[in-house]
Symmetry: C2
Subunit: 490 residues, 2 copies
Amino acid sequence: MSKGITSKNDDYSQWYNELVTKADLAEHSAVKGCMVIKPYGYSIWEKMQAALDKMFKDTGHSNAYFPLFIPKSFFSKEAAHVEGFATECAVVTHYRLKNDGNGNIIVDPDAKLEEELIVRPTSETIIWNTYRGWIQSYRDLPLLINQWANVVRWEMRTRLFLRTTEFLWQEGHTAHATSAEAVEEAERMLDVYADFAENWMAMPVIKGIKTANERFAGAVETYCIEALMQDGKALQAGTSHFLGQNFAKAFDVKFTSKEGKLDHVWATSWGVSTRLMGALIMAHSDDQGLVLPPKLAPIQVVIVPIYRNDEDLAQISEVAKALVAELKAKNISVKYDDRDTQRPGFKFAEYELKGVPVRVAMGGRDIENGTAEIARRDTREKQTITRDGLAGYIETLLDDIQTNIYSKAYKFRAESIVKVDTYDEFKRLLDEKPGFLSAHWDGTPESEQKIKEETKATIRCIPLDNELEDGICIYSGKPSKQRVLFARAY
Amino acid sequence: MSKGITSKNDDYSQWYNELVTKADLAEHSAVKGCMVIKPYGYSIWEKMQAALDKMFKDTGHSNAYFPLFIPKSFFSKEAAHVEGFATECAVVTHYRLKNDGNGNIIVDPDAKLEEELIVRPTSETIIWNTYRGWIQSYRDLPLLINQWANVVRWEMRTRLFLRTTEFLWQEGHTAHATSAEAVEEAERMLDVYADFAENWMAMPVIKGIKTANERFAGAVETYCIEALMQDGKALQAGTSHFLGQNFAKAFDVKFTSKEGKLDHVWATSWGVSTRLMGALIMAHSDDQGLVLPPKLAPIQVVIVPIYRNDEDLAQISEVAKALVAELKAKNISVKYDDRDTQRPGFKFAEYELKGVPVRVAMGGRDIENGTAEIARRDTREKQTITRDGLAGYIETLLDDIQTNIYSKAYKFRAESIVKVDTYDEFKRLLDEKPGFLSAHWDGTPESEQKIKEETKATIRCIPLDNELEDGICIYSGKPSKQRVLFARAY
Ligand SMILES: [Zn+2]
Ligand SMILES: [Zn+2]
């Protein structure tokens, strides 16, 4: 069919780009670096949002909304923060256009802002400036707020979903009375992200902490979940930051404790973004197109009639529509595609491309025999199943597919974590068998930086459940107390 | 209590401002003209979004996402459109900050954009530029897309929810093969908005069309729903535009018809915004605070225990928690407020301020008698009800409250539509008994403009179901074929 895509073994990067556009997930817009998320892609994002939003609310968070714009002066208040984001900020300098008299629309020089506004790349500064008015006493704590929003970080080289100038995300911003509570919150939200990645996206992740080099600008500690894509490159799928009192101090947010003591508040922030769409696509898909875990598939089941004439179609439709009703009663999203403008083969390819987990084909013979042909997207296996109990069979099959997609990714990931003890071996494996390389590191930013410059591999994280082990740094030969995970990454 | 607010009869405007902030709905941010929507306010907006989103999907629409930024040149392509929005645009001119060497963060002059970007005030231009790539044939039509997004229109004088520089909204953008289909869509979405306003917000609205003066910049016809606030001022609660082929021509979007003819596509756009929050507040609330229709109330029922000691509380809690479970089983959102830091009177006032539709108070006597005291927020009536069947009673009561709030608003609106036949009477009523004034108008923009300048009243709409009637224009004395609705408006 015309929508055939490059094989991922031939050119993984090209495979990804074609998949995103041909499966109608997203496309580049006329605005450099900004994407259009198309309806099919957006419907997957909506499913992600709904699941995450429920998890946030179940853990006590409320949603709110803060301004898109941040005064430049706020930005400068937390030194590490501004340094981290200054080089990628969209800046609003004027608030009016005008006609120049020659029919051209120009920026009105008389409408220059006294203070420039930054389009938020993240909202710590504007939010902590607001929290100052909301927090006086320990009774106002913890303050557990999340925001769903668009953010802008100017990027020179962009890729759909993975790195775009504008992206959609959620950012949680919480305030606590003690350091311990804030750390607990940061860890809780890391667990929520890991739960979502594994149980909804069917994507195993490693929970860990970032080295100082890779820490969020303004954080004391950055927790992360790291996933592995099918090409052996890592992808940071979510981060949760313990911010200490950095932002409370920068914005002077204090509270009176139960004991009447005045102290700065402790903070966290945490976020995931439309980058997860990229991770979802790259983690599971194949040369036929998307492979979507059933829990995030906008269409979980598609029914395609195979008929020679209108009489055939009428008979099949009767059975198909009964099945649609049964599946809907089980909260399974199902589409009956009886378009007469396309042939079954075209439809099969289209739903494979779009990653629909289960396809049901019904022909005249099936109606006679009381059967249907069931094809699962993950393994592409087909089976003929009797019509009796078919809805229940499909319900179980969807669970099996969810589990199988996870297991496959887990197995691949397990095979892709390799212990390495020399720098030569490290460099060889990065090229020949990429994945997570578990290696000793002396703990210095200098060695980390050198390795990055020489190999493009970064320390993805120090796993939370890391075992201590004496060894020597693969780069410097200096003593090391534990291995860390290196990889090339998106 | 400390949260007492100004009476709406003393100062309606002040009453509104205090209500919005004291009920924790929203507040002004540090960014001029931009608001912070606080968790309680945002939870009402989420309920609005969920209801509207379902209505959009039930009428065949899908969500998508388009860029925040619009190149200046796109803006200029539809002449009326740019004229309408040019004077209120936030303009991005640079993409980087830098340290000036003296520790100051400044805009990097080397990072000036070749073409300025406008922060979207509405998305017709970027969307129609995108649709050019999506539409080739009649098979691609209709294209029925909605976007939930933030938009920016620079405002010099702002009011929380009613007029803010940044606001949240949804914007539908559809493409059709014929003019008739596009008109039908614009009218369908107007009906959806009216349905939502009346059946969810309990706010009666008049459906009508705007005069040329009040039309959306770039539209052929603007449909609107107009609501009446308790001070007799009108509020435009939603608009739906038939855009003809204006944007298709500006962005060269053509399709091949079934007959093989090439033609420009027909368009609509339609939107409602966080302005609806302002309408909801002003339509029903009173001097004690918010009055929320149950269908949009984040907390529909609150249970407050009234106790002298821990033993009392334990007994009450047992009964209260059983009631909570029963209500939740009926999908009623309920909160049991057993905080020991506040007295019942304080809690009563707080939930009145926040507009919780039903309050259940339970004391020791109630436990003995198997009763509870039920107070409804809309009428502030109290009744003692037996515990048996209480959940069912509350379920019915919530429906009654929803209906009653609507009826009250409907009655007020009915009394506030007055036929006027002279300009003197028109001016007198605007000051003495504001509301919708139904008056003859000669159909000219000149008379309309003069009336606006002299009285601040505008033509809110020409009602869709208007009866034709010969008369003379109250302003010019020229002949008129129908009355139109004037009002001062938000
Ligand atoms: Zn301080
Ligand atoms: Zn054209």
